[in-house]
Symmetry: C2
Subunit: 180 residues, 2 copies
């Protein structure tokens, strides 16, 4: 067996609204004991809604840890036990009003795997049909459509830096190029 670290004892250090933190005693392959800090996050989804004109429907949202608005694709946290595709359809509808004829998986994004359990399930939504948006209370979103090529340029210029959005935008661009 290759190198591994086995949990010996879990100590819950913080129980929060979104995250909790534990510090585990863990045993390394060579038998030594060490401490490992883990941020537990419920995980989430992010959806790239691509319309028939090649535009991506994005949200501009105030992100408190950064003290400013960021441009991202629609996203949200998983409820306990929720199917990621169901969550993706729900968040897409809540934030943009769209429902989608097709939700294709773009794989997962591990946000910060050295310290956090957070996994974001990425989806490409096509066949968009409009409906009423209904954001969560306290969520103030601006919805904007941008051509996919412009978003790729914004990523390459470093202007769009949200990790889940970067992954979904660059993956989608490459998938569309491969099928052209």
């Amino acid at each position: 067996m290759s190198y591994h670290e086995m949990p010996v004892r879990r100590i819950n250090r913080y129980e929060g609204v979104v995250v909790s933190v534990r510090v585990d005693q863990a045993r390394l392959s060579d038998g030594r004991l060490t401490l490992r800090e883990v941020v537990e996050h419920p995980g989430g989804v992010a959806v790239l809604p691509l319309d028939a004109d090649g535009r991506v429907w994005c949200v501009r949202q105030f992100r408190y840890p950064f003290g400013r608005e960021l441009l991202e694709i629609p996203a949200g946290k998983l409820e306990p036990g929720e199917d990621p595709a169901v969550c993706a359809a729900r968040e897409l509808s809540e934030e943009t009003g769209f429902s989608a004829d097709s939700l294709r998986s773009l794989g997962c994004s591990y946000s910060s795997p050295g310290i956090s359990t957070e996994v974001i399930h990425l989806f490409l939504a096509t066949g968009l049909r409009p409906g009423p948006a209904h954001p969560d209370d306290g969520e103030l979103l601006g919805v904007e459509a941008h051509p996919l090529a412009e978003l790729v340029d914004a990523v390459l210029r470093g202007e769009l830096a949200d990790a889940k959005s970067v992954a979904a935008i660059l993956k989608t661009a490459r998938l569309l190029e491969e099928t052209e």
Copy 2:
């Protein structure tokens, strides 16, 4: 002024080894008060080392929150006040032994901007010169070289999911295609 949220009072809830957590009382644009949970992270760097044969030098590392090894590009946390380019050169040398004639910025990655302050500074390292690796105590790394095109395929297949590595790999692939 557009929608904003202003901190009113900070309450430190957890002080850890890598992260700390605070829960702020914040005032919304409409005057209402709310709570905002923030994971404070020192930030870090990630370096894509591209050799003259088009291979990327990666690290395979046990990631405790996932309980398994993940393939990533070399990376590490910023020391307080450290210049990201200096940190990138240091981490590249520690983890792979390489020094680089050129370190080009690939912009930043915001790992989880709804909850965390974490910013990863991304770099492309070229002009690699070998030297001795010297990982931190307790860091057990396997260093592997893979052609960039194979890593792009691994990202698209969902096999390589670390957010900072995905961003650096897909950005580098696109930059090289644009300059061809």
